[in-house]
Symmetry: C2
Subunit: 417 residues, 2 copies
């Protein structure tokens, strides 16, 4: 194998493994996850050493801050990831579920059954714990996986994948987990064109990377991530609840996709509420940009340009706009949003219903923080990513989202008329 054909060779190995893995009984797949956790924990020293090497390289090239923190592994994080594997192992197996079934007028018995997708390719950022989460979800759901993590985490990923493969031994094909080791970006492009081998590609990362993947891929893609999330403070909102939720959604982790980027305020409460919002934002060092009305109320606020309404701020920036109605709020969100997570703060059912059914997003909240859009928070044990497209899966993706269905049709000689 040369670097040139690494993508194809590993995808082929994954494909071959996937057919055997798909036949593995549920307890065998769950046992594989427990063994993966055990092997990772046994080799924690080796893994943390590899991670230290990655961090050193990263910092020597000037890396720091949030990105370095995402790259970092320590015993606690490794233990959490291993606990995650054990939790996913204990979840109900999606494979084999009979989703529905009926008998046709010809006497054919049709069953729609849940089966693994086959080979899942995930291209993700330099977060080594994600390597563990995704592999666990894939194996549990009967899928082989081709991993391509951020180049900065290559040593960590190599050590982790080695341990996980050891966990598969004697249970399911070791080839079920494949790590692309070349850091050449062209390999990603190649991977995205292996139609016969890859059943779905899940890119994680920034908006420009996702766009690139969509343009280049011929394999089916599930788009993840970009989160220009909104919170609409309705005319009957509890101001304190609104502020608590906005602070939680804005400040806790401003660079993640489910953080809030825009606050819309109903005009009837703008004069009373915006000063309170501004105070809370100032207290948490949030820079506010505003529409004209907001600025006329709040004074010292930078102007939000048309581009601002599209922007997914990665820092403590928030844009505020006053709208005339829940209808205008919905329209604004559907126009400028990224179909990720949006919330309304309100007391009345009519507006809550209008908002939840008409905002065209994966997750629509009433009186709660957008930060809950997460596989773990939803109770899925882990997540592969958050789908912002509408096909196949929408919102946090976990076990069931890594399956497809097929029809099994039993007859006794039926012919079509």
């Amino acid at each position: 194998m040369t670097a040139d054909n690494e993508a194809r060779v590993k995808a082929m190995a994954a494909k071959a493994a996937s057919y055997v893995l798909a036949r593995a009984p549920s307890p065998v797949r769950s046992r594989a996850l427990l063994n993966m956790a055990d092997r990772i924990w046994e080799r924690r020293e080796e893994i943390l050493k590899a991670n230290a090497l990655d961090l050193e390289d990263f910092k020597s090239r000037g890396g720091s801050g949030a990105l370095a923190d995402r790259l970092l592994l320590n015993e606690k994080r490794l233990k959490e990831a291993c606990d995650g594997l054990r939790q996913v192992a204990s979840l109900q197996d999606p494979v084999g579920e009979v989703v529905e079934g009926w008998r046709t007028r010809h006497g054919l018995e049709i069953r729609k059954v849940r089966v693994p997708l086959g080979v899942v390719a995930v291209v993700y950022e330099a977060r080594p714990n994600v390597t563990i989460d995704i592999s666990g979800l894939a194996i549990k759901s009967g899928n082989a996986v081709v991993l391509r993590g951020g180049a900065e985490a290559i040593n960590s990923n190599r050590a982790i994948v080695g341990a996980m493969k050891a966990g598969l031994e004697g249970l399911v094909p070791v080839d079920s987990i494949q790590l692309i080791e070349s850091t050449d970006r062209r390999l990603v492009d190649e991977l995205l064109k292996l139609d016969e081998l890859i059943d779905v590609a899940i890119p994680r990362g920034g908006a420009s990377f996702i766009k690139h993947v969509k343009e280049i891929a011929t394999v089916p893609v599930i788009e993840t991530g970009a989160g220009n999330c909104h919170i609409f403070v309705n005319l009957d909102a509890d101001f304190e609840m609104a502020n608590r939720i906005i602070v939680n959604a804005k400040v806790q982790r401003p660079s993640v996709c489910n953080a809030v980027r825009k606050v819309l305020v109903h005009r009837d409460i703008a004069r009373d509420y915006i000063p309170l919002l501004m105070e809370a934002m100032r207290k948490h060092s949030v820079r506010v940009r505003g529409c004209e009305v907001t600025r006329s109320i709040a004074g010292d606020v930078e102007e939000a340009t048309e581009q601002d309404w599209y922007e997914e701020y990665m820092d403590l920036t928030l844009a505020v706009k006053v709208v005339n109605s829940v209808e205008e709020a919905v329209e604004h969100i559907n126009r400028y949003g990224t179909k990720h997570s949006d919330a309304i703060i309100t007391k009345n059912i009519r507006d809550a219903n209008y908002f939840t059914w008409n905002v065209d997003s994966a997750c629509v909240y009433v009186n709660a923080s957008t930060r809950f859009t997460d596989g773990g928070q939803f109770g899925f044990g882990a997540e592969v990513g958050i789908s912002t497209q509408k096909l196949h899966a929408r919102g946090p993706m976990a076990l069931r989202e890594l399956t497809t269905t097929k029809y099994i049709i039993m007859g006794d000689g039926q012919l079509r008329e």
Copy 2:
């Protein structure tokens, strides 16, 4: 509007309409379908005249045979399509269904609800009745649709769409149905890149067209159609049933995607069964190509090349291969097939189960003709196409496959820890 921006202008109109349509109550959408049927039937003379024009053009350019027959409308076919609309109108509305729901440990109430996709773009062959089927399914499921039918059917489609739009008047936005009238192929390519406006593109047609769409599209695509379908005659098969099913699947309509292209025969019965199969094929003018063993048994049979096993014959050609086991049959199908429809003829449960769970296709049959893979035959009223990919929808696509889900989350001030 110039031909240059027709795709964008019409997709924008469809997008705007889709938000209003999605809010239309279920009975209003069903009523729209009934009105569409009434308007089409009232204008049947005009529609048939337009169709006669299309046919004349087509034949003057040398068109004939199966393609001309697909293009042809007559009162009977128009009536069937109108009856189809009425049947779809009476089906259960998929929109609004609560697929599942639970309460999280934070007290959030999560509901996963079914909603329309938004704007569905369908690029299809010159079959004017398909224009009616797809529009009916789209409107019933709350989706706006952008239609781009085969250039040869442009007059028919214009007349049909005019009648259908008249049926929408006063109920849902007339813009919910859009027909691309320019026959310039570049418009299809443009349509496939309108990420902000098109929620899914469904291409129908030949393998090379589907391949082109996958390469060029940045909008999500559901791949349809190519059908290199297999029937495996197992060692315990009822020979007469096998022949009846193979004749039905091969001869009835050899150019459709669910027709059989390959027969695999278990080696233990090859010597007894292949002569019977050959006789039946001769009787129905089917040309047979064979593997070496087949040829040694059947004598006068053309050699099947490696390429033949991949081929989706559009005529009365069939390739026959002798295999050593059900395992080898499954392996062959997964290697050369198109994941559409495959069947086993057998009496024993073990082989039936092995085959159905391990053949990686949308529809897997035991003792029945592959020709049943069809929305109508499955009881869906009509179909948009048959998905041969694994994401979102697999097999015949109808109302439910034109929906997505979203999460609605009700809280009372929950913050993420």
